[in-house]
């Protein structure tokens, strides 16, 4: 075991810090920390799109991709350092998480040379935004139940059906979607991974208003929407394997970065508790201490599993942070007391109210915690399937 950073890593950290200090200026620097983060993706969108292009110009998108595909070939630790410094600098939430972190590695692993040439530069320059088309009204935790279908007519796929819980759909240029391409197929078979342009007449987007009163997510309706026959990643019928491969790219970098945001939210909650005087109550102090202790444990857990090949590590991580974040959200309003019951005139929520409400989704999205428990108990603990 050696948990110190190498001198190369420290030099990399300096480089990241300097670039952020030089570029995160003006209006961008004025944004409150956490702007555009999870649950707040509607905030300052135009500014954040411009920022994404600036990051791209600086070569800071997709840094973990191999150099021949336009990345920096950054090590896992360097990716963590970038994400940590990014969060520490208070830089806003990214607008193209789906393109950068899910589609780009998928194209490197499963795409054709033509697909990489066509799509990677747009992501790496911050110019083409992507959304993910996985969930459907009948396929939430049970992704294999997708019913949206596509059929090949000549040199075009024609797509019909509905996706739901699509982040930033109205801003995305493209969607990567799992659709059924073999009529009558069931479950994991007969699915394909298609790349579909969003700006076309056959695509209709209806925002979903969440319990926060805001809209990060949308329903997406495909009615004879089209895409080129070439825009299938992997072979037709192999969509499940490609989609699951995508999930495997998450090897803990995002978890460590996410924790920097958690630390900030905890600090803000402690400050609010001090301001309201709630910190004097032993029960509140103990809950704050517990939140801190558990966040430390989650950090060591993320460090130990960083870069590991065990896919169950992501399930463990989610069981730890989802409920933790919900408890923090409860604390955030509890320490403010009655003051947390009043919103702005148009139901504008402050950060604590937003955290309290949005964190309800943490145990539902990206595979509900019940699904994670099934995965852990069967794949890691070897308990028999029911």
């Amino acid at each position: 075991m050696d948990l110190r950073h190498t001198p190369e890593d420290e030099r990399f950290r300096e480089e990241v810090r300097e670039w952020l200090a030089e570029n995160l200026t003006g209006e961008l620097a004025e944004l409150p920390p956490g702007t555009g983060g999870p649950g707040r993706e509607h905030e300052a969108l135009e500014l954040r799109k411009e920022w994404e292009r600036r990051l791209g110009a600086g070569g800071w998108i997709g840094i973990g991709l191999p150099k021949e595909h336009g990345g920096r070939g950054a090590t896992l630790m360097q990716q963590v350092i970038f994400a940590e410094e990014y969060a520490r600098a208070g830089a806003p939430g990214r607008v193209n998480h789906m393109g950068e972190n899910l589609l780009a590695p998928t194209l490197v692993a499963f795409g054709t040379e033509e697909q990489r040439k066509r799509f990677l530069p747009g992501i790496l320059r911050g110019e083409e935004l992507w959304c993910q088309g996985y969930s459907e009204p009948g396929a939430g935790s049970d992704l294999a139940s997708v019913r949206t279908r596509a059929e090949l007519r000549g040199d075009r796929w024609v797509i019909n059906g509905q996706k739901v819980w699509t982040s930033l759909a109205e801003h995305a240029d493209w969607c990567f979607a799992v659709v059924r391409t073999e009529p009558g197929s069931e479950r994991h078979r007969g699915l394909s991974y298609l790349l579909v342009p969003m700006k076309q007449p056959g695509v209709e987007i209806r925002p979903i208003t969440q319990i926060t009163g805001t809209s990060e997510f949308s329903e997406v309706f495909f009615e004879d929407a089209e895409t080129d026959a070439d825009n299938v990643v992997g072979e037709p019928g192999e969509g499940w394997r490609v989609a699951m491969g995508t999930l495997g790219f998450e090897r803990g970098v995002a978890t460590l970065a996410q924790q920097i945001g958690f630390e900030r939210e905890l600090r803000e909650t402690i400050a609010a508790a001090r301001e309201s005087g709630a910190i004097e109550r032993p029960e509140v102090a103990d809950r704050l201490i517990d939140a801190w202790v558990e966040l430390r444990a989650m950090r060591y857990q993320a460090m130990r599993t960083l870069g590991g090949q065990d896919p169950v590590a992501a399930s463990i991580s989610k069981l730890l942070w989802g409920p933790w974040h919900q408890r923090l959200g409860e604390l955030a309003v509890d320490v403010r007391g009655a003051a947390a019951t009043v919103t702005g005139p148009d139901y504008e929520l402050d950060a604590a109210q937003g955290l309290f409400l949005f964190s309800r989704a943490d145990t539902i999205y990206a595979g509900s915690n019940e699904v994670q428990r099934n995965i852990i108990s069967e794949r890691m603990l070897g308990l028999p399937r029911g």
Partner: protein
């Protein structure tokens, strides 16, 4: 940054585990803990003799192997799995406390040679005064784990009003009353000192820091040990869930149990990471130890207690019997918590040391 163990460390783990599987199975543990005097002497002699496990933590110049606390932690985790009644933890903590004292060479050699030690680091019941040939200590320390089998003792004593670590050996002026314990796998004694000759282990002004480090090492050791113990009783429980058939199917197919197991696994994995990080920090980042000691102890003991409590429930009736080992783990977990002031107190202490609430 590398979190995983190196080849030598993995080899050490295999070596210790293989030995314990052969010589410290559940029957040997029960024989020593429940039918004997709470000391698996023969296993201890081999662990400290041919296995040289106590020498691990001692400087090579003083008869030891000069390993880090990571290696000691590996041995502790493996011992924790078995609950084997041997005084390894207090002995390595005593060795660490002795390491700072130039005159402690002979005591360290004795530990490297297999002498068992106990530590009494809490409480203020012991006074030290200067005597003709050195220090003389008097007073009482209660709930001293593994004291009945110890030849050497490291205690917190008050010397000229200052908390000071001192070392003494069993002999004149030293009396130990052995006690039966709720956790029979870890016996205790009451240590009564009456003018016993002792060696001062820290210079004036450095006593509190030296005692603090010893307490934090003890906490980290207990954390690693708890992870081992929790992992073992969890494995036993999972085996049972796969095998036990009710309503025509293994009870491990029921989500009511599966989901509880998944939560236990998540808590245990986080505890394991915390314990390993703390064991590394003992030598790798000693400035973090005052926070990590109590933090790791709380996180790991809490995880252990949950697993051990659930082990009884998930075993059903058999889990409530004396015959099954589940109660040994449950009692170990709760006793270890009660002995140090409790999880709540450690969490508060860690937060206070880290300045979290300002």
């Amino acid at each position: 940054m590398r979190f995983e163990l190196n080849d030598d460390q993995r080899e050490l783990r295999e070596f210790v585990r293989a030995f314990l599987e052969r010589h410290a199975g559940p029957e040997a543990v029960r024989a020593a803990a429940l039918d004997g005097d709470g000391f698996a002497r023969e296993a201890w002699e081999r662990l400290t003799g041919e296995m040289e496990l106590t020498a691990l933590a001692i400087d090579p110049e003083r008869g030891g192997a000069g390993a880090s606390f990571v290696e000691v932690g590996i041995a502790l985790e493996e011992l924790g799995r078995t609950l084997l009644p041997v005084p390894y933890l207090p002995t390595v903590v005593a060795a660490a406390a002795l390491a700072g004292a130039p005159e402690a060479g002979e005591l360290l050699e004795r530990i490297a040679g297999g002498a068992a030690a106990a530590v009494a680091l809490d409480g203020d019941g012991i006074e030290a005064r200067a005597g003709a040939g050195g220090l003389l200590v008097s007073g009482t320390a209660s709930y001293v784990i593994d004291a009945p089998h110890a030849e050497l003792f490291v205690c917190a004593a008050r010397l000229d009003g200052e908390p000071t670590p001192v070392a003494l050996r069993r002999g004149e002026g030293v009396e130990v009353e052995p006690l039966m314990t709720l956790d029979a796998t870890r016996r205790q004694g009451e240590l009564r000192l009456d003018g016993a000759p002792a060696l001062r282990l820290a210079a004036p002004g450095e006593g509190e820091a030296a005692l603090g480090r010893a307490r934090d090492l003890l906490s980290v050791g207990l954390a690693v040990e708890a992870v081992g113990a929790a992992a073992r009783i969890f494995e036993v429980t999972l085996d049972y869930l796969r095998e036990r058939v009710q309503f025509g199917r293994p009870i491990g197919t029921f989500q009511a149990l599966k989901h509880r197991c998944a939560d236990l696994a998540a808590g245990l994995e986080a505890a394991r990471s915390t314990a390993y990080y703390a064991a590394w920090a003992a030598d790798g980042a000693p400035e973090e130890l005052p926070v990590l000691g109590p933090l790791a102890r709380a996180v790991c003991n809490d995880a252990f207690l949950k697993v051990a409590a659930e082990a009884i429930q998930m075993h059903g009736g058999i889990g409530f019997t004396w015959e099954h080992d589940a109660h040994l783990y449950f009692k170990r977990a709760k006793s270890t918590e009660l002995l140090g002031g409790g999880s709540r107190a450690w969490r508060r202490l860690a937060a206070e040391r880290a300045g979290i609430l300002g």
